[in-house]
């Protein structure tokens, strides 16, 4: 009997380890994807030539999905946008022949993504056609006949400029919805860069052409005419317009280049963050939930998230990454993805924070860490269970009295091993809960001399919550936001402001 129990225990432990390994795999894959997006964006943002942008993108796409054959084509083919083709894993004549076959289909289609399975007989290689069109389309047939799996158009200013074509994965696994989502985000990055780089290239061409005309003119025009034209008194008149155009082009190029790099970074981070933020607050019976995030610098080093566990239970998290700007936003995105994966695995709350802690420790620099408040609220059992990883205390308000939610453990990502505690609170009607980042209490302090005493502060926050505790969640959130904004008026935010508000009805 004891052997049977021991065996069952071992089996359960093995399952737990197996689940853990799968979660680690999924985390590693997600981090790899996010790093790829970040690095691809960084790299192509510095390039000034369409061919180089396509070549670099091609490499990242091969590497991120593990592909043998890839083709990226630009076939707009007008004066400013000549035809381009980059490819790997096939001969040039194969690539050009395929592109020729592809073009007529593309003009006739408005399909966003086409994904076909090469091995139709294998159930392990299904076609994730969720967002694409039918497999029976001519385009899908053409892809299949040429042993390609995915077609994704590259669109600039609502015009199809070309597209990306992927062959099978080395892993022989199907393209998933996540893969297509990632590919779409990569395509958006490429499209934005292409739009600007094409313009820069076209302007450069104009400048080169203008300089060439001038050189040819100086070399071959009759001396009398040159003297006439280059006579200082006439130059302004005759070459003035041309010179002004050249100067204008040069200025435009310099401005475009500078603006282009900054915009690319911010746009990319915005898109990833928007993609990950919840579209709306979750709905569970008798508990109102509202949330808001205001970035201080265009991108946010805080995040909040909700994951519905069942019709009555919601997991929520609010984290603040040490540091600000792009790098903090990047880590916030990483941690948010990791949190979603862990929550999906139904680990106990302290285990989730321990896994996230180890993940942050392993995948970020040693100076990088996050504070995090993680909880689960159950409307059926009327309970709140939470663990606070070094975050500002959650504020729980019942009958005008404040309880600070501080049970938990250390920051996430500082030490390789960390254990966490959890606390469960029974919820009563009219209870209010506010989880917030320190940007709320620091609002109003100046970045040059950030003295916490100048900020909105915890006392004012508690007083605002007590004064408005009878309001529903959305109205309570608005009341706090208004109070903070009023207090900070005139001072630009120097830290992100993020809040989750819950109200028991």
């Amino acid at each position: 009997m004891s052997n049977v129990i021991q065996s069952e225990a071992e089996e359960s432990e093995t399952e737990y380890i197996h689940d853990g390994e799968q979660t680690e795999d999924a985390l590693a894959r997600r981090v790899y994807h996010l790093n790829t997006l970040y690095e691809l964006n960084q790299e192509i943002s510095t390039l000034r030539n369409v061919h180089e942008v396509l070549e670099a993108s091609l490499l990242y796409i091969i590497g991120v999905f593990g592909l043998r054959r890839v083709l990226i084509a630009i076939y707009k083919n007008d004066e400013l946008h000549p035809r381009r083709l980059v490819y790997r894993g096939m001969r040039k004549d194969t690539a050009t022949r395929f592109l020729k076959q592809l073009e007529p289909h593309l003009k006739a289609t408005s399909v966003r993504v086409v994904c076909v399975a090469q091995d139709a007989t294998s159930p392990s290689y299904p076609s994730p056609l969720g967002r694409g069109k039918d497999e029976g389309s001519e385009l899908a047939k053409l892809l299949k006949d040429n042993q390609f799996c995915v077609w994704l158009p590259l669109e600039v200013d609502e015009q199809t400029w070309g597209g990306i074509v992927l062959g099978e994965k080395l892993s022989e696994t199907a393209f998933t919805e996540d893969d297509l989502e990632l590919l779409s985000t990569i395509a958006i990055n490429i499209q934005n860069v292409l739009s600007n780089v094409s313009l820069i290239e076209a302007l450069n061409q104009s400048v080169i052409k203008e300089t060439r005309i001038r050189n040819v003119f100086q070399r071959y025009a009759p001396e009398a005419i040159i003297n006439e034209v280059l006579n200082p008194s006439n130059e302004e008149l005759l070459l003035g317009e041309s010179e002004a155009v050249r100067r204008m082009f040069e200025q435009m190029i310099a401005q475009l280049e500078e603006q282009h790099v900054l915009e690319q970074d911010l746009n990319w981070a915005h898109r990833v963050q928007e993609y990950l933020l919840p579209n709306q607050s979750p709905q569970i019976p008798n508990i109102g939930i509202a949330a808001r995030s205001i970035p201080a610098r265009g991108v946010c080093g805080d995040f909040y998230d909700f994951i519905s566990l069942n019709p009555y239970e919601v997991a929520f998290s609010l984290a603040d990454i040490a540091g600000k700007g792009m790098s903090a936003a990047m880590i916030a995105t990483m941690l948010q993805s990791a949190t979603r994966l862990c929550v999906g695995s139904y680990y106990p709350i302290p285990a989730i924070l321990s896994i996230l802690n180890r993940f942050m420790f392993r995948h970020t620099e040693t100076t990088r860490y996050a504070t995090m408040f993680y909880g689960q609220v159950n409307a059926q059992e009327r309970t709140l269970t939470y663990s606070n990883a070094g975050h500002t205390p959650g504020i729980f308000c019942r009958d005008g009295k404040i309880q600070l939610l501080e049970i938990g453990g250390s920051f996430v990502g500082i030490f390789e091993q960390c254990s966490y505690e959890q606390e469960t609170i029974e919820l009563h009607p009219n209870d209010a809960l506010v989880i917030y980042s320190d940007g709320v209490t620091d609002a109003g302090a100046t970045p040059e001399a950030p003295n916490p005493e100048d900020g909105f502060g915890q006392e004012r926050l508690e007083a605002t919550i007590v004064a408005n505790a009878s309001l529903p969640a959305n109205a309570l959130l608005d009341a706090i936001s208004d109070e903070v904004t009023r207090y900070a008026s005139g001072n630009k935010l120097f830290d992100d402001i993020t809040m989750i508000v819950m109200k028991v009805e």
């Binding site: 790899y32 590497g63 592909l67 022989e172």
Partner: protein, 113 residues
């Protein structure tokens, strides 16, 4: 912090070794291509791509490794990879590279095979 990539190639007893010191990213594509052509020139049966244990390899770097492994496979030459961290072993596995190449702990391990 990006570590500049330096590449050495040598051959010993039917094993051509391409030694990669530093990070493998898109900027190393040309240098790796040249090193690979040199390694193929030895007509060795096996090629070892040896990293220094601290190398960071991004997606573009992995694409370079994929292209090399596929080309070698077409030539009937086997590619081994050594000196990669546990993290990059996992990435190689995720992208399907481990189906086409063998990851080993050291150069000695390849020689014993």
């Amino acid at each position: 912090m990006h570590r500049e990539c330096k590449i050495n190639v040598h051959e010993d007893n039917d094993l051509a070794t391409i030694e990669v010191l530093g990070d493998l990213t898109a900027s190393a594509e040309k240098a790796i291509g040249t090193a690979y052509q040199k390694a193929c020139g030895y007509n060795a049966k096996n090629i070892l791509l040896k990293f220094d244990g601290k190398s960071r390899i991004n997606s573009a770097g992995i694409a370079i490794v994929i292209n090399m492994v596929i080309e070698s496979q077409e030539k009937g030459c086997k590619v081994f990879i050594a000196g990669v961290s546990k993290h990059f072993r996992k990435i190689f596995e995720l992208v399907g590279l481990t189906k086409y190449t063998t990851i080993v702990d050291s150069e000695e391990e390849v020689r014993k095979l």
